[in-house]
């Protein structure tokens, strides 16, 4: 029953459209760090996500078995979004993006240029440089960035198909640190704003979606949960709930109480 209602909610909302491609689900998920491929497949299925991220890496030559993730994910069922995770320069990110396009099924790339090993925060300068080049080469760039308005605006100007500000650092599970910055970015940009990284649990995802952003991408919140499949179900509902609450328009905050029951008719 809950499932049927969720699907109704998904179909009630406008689809998420990125560079002319429409998606029903506003939740995107990663494929890293799962304890098993079966658990990953179960969690992705439970999340209802259509866009699924993958990373580009060297084949392990000493492995006799081909461990490509494509054996576990049906490219007909999911939209595979390659990332440039692990790249610290624009040059590396561009190289990875080109390889990903050759290996993959579309010209979309989740562009990451990381500036610091401890925080994994994006390098805005390298990111912008890589985005400009990749857009010229015909890529649809979804740029993982800081929650900084000016960088987000520059990325949009560079022709990015979507801008992906972080909620908090990758894998931190700290939730949405600066809702004001995320709302500002959403208000000022025309391209989709997808919050990427930092959510830890369902309430975090719900709060992110309540800011009015177009979608959310997560990995560790699912893979790092005790029960990833159950957490994926929770996240699916949280994203729908947050989106629905945003569309519904919340009541005004006030710092004094207002009674819900009539003041009239009290027995005195």
């Amino acid at each position: 029953m809950i499932h049927a209602q969720s699907v109704a909610l998904e179909t009630m909302d406008q689809p998420l459209t990125i560079a002319g491609r429409s998606f029903r689900s506003r939740l995107m998920v990663g494929t890293g760090k799962y304890r098993s491929q079966a658990e990953m497949v179960g969690a992705i299925d439970a999340s209802g996500a259509e866009i699924v991220t993958v990373a580009v890496r060297r084949v392990d030559l000493d492995r006799s078995k081909d461990e490509s993730i494509l054996h576990h994910l049906d490219p007909g069922k999911y939209f595979l979004l390659a990332n440039t995770a692990g790249c610290y320069t624009a040059e590396d990110a561009i190289r990875y993006a080109r390889l990903a396009r050759e290996a993959g099924f579309n010209a979309f790339v989740k562009l990451e240029v990381i500036g610091d090993k401890e925080t994994l925060l994006p390098d805005a300068v390298g990111l912008l440089e890589a985005a400009v080049t990749l857009v010229k080469e015909g890529f649809q760039v979804l740029a993982y960035t800081n929650d900084d308005l000016i960088t987000a605006l520059r990325l949009e100007d560079a022709g990015c198909a979507a801008v992906m500000p972080l909620a908090s650092p990758i894998g931190s599970g700290l939730g949405l640190i600066n809702p004001y910055a995320i709302r500002t970015i959403k208000r000022r940009l025309s391209v989709p704003v997808i919050v990427d990284a930092g959510v830890g649990t369902a309430s975090d995802a719900c709060i992110v979606m309540e800011q009015g952003v177009d979608g959310i991408l997560m990995n560790t919140a699912l893979a790092g949960a005790t029960e990833p499949v159950h957490m994926a179900t929770a996240m699916r509902h949280a994203v729908l709930a947050g989106r629905a609450a945003y569309l519904a328009g919340r009541m005004a905050r006030r710092e004094i109480a207002v009674p819900s029951s009539p003041a009239k008719g009290l027995i005195v």
Binding site: G30, K33, A55, S68
Partner: protein
């Protein structure tokens, strides 16, 4: 049949020469449909693998998709 020393994914490997990129993939038991080949920093499309010769000292990267966020 002189052996060629090439670098594959950062490791020095020997393969019997003359050899094409397809020979290297067969040698490593890799399915070309799930990987991408970069040869001396240039991406080689699948249909060009059989026509691309390896030379001593070449640098080859064999990449694929793995789990990631």
């Amino acid at each position: 049949m002189s052996p060629l020393r090439i670098q594959v994914n950062g490791e020095v490997r020997e393969i019997a020469g003359p050899a094409k990129l397809t020979d290297l993939l067969v040698h490593l038991a890799l399915d070309p449909r799930t990987i991408v080949v970069e040869h001396n920093r240039r991406i080689v499309r699948r249909d060009a693998l059989a026509g691309t010769s390896l030379a001593e000292g070449d640098v080859v990267e064999l990449i694929h998709f793995v789990g990631g966020g």
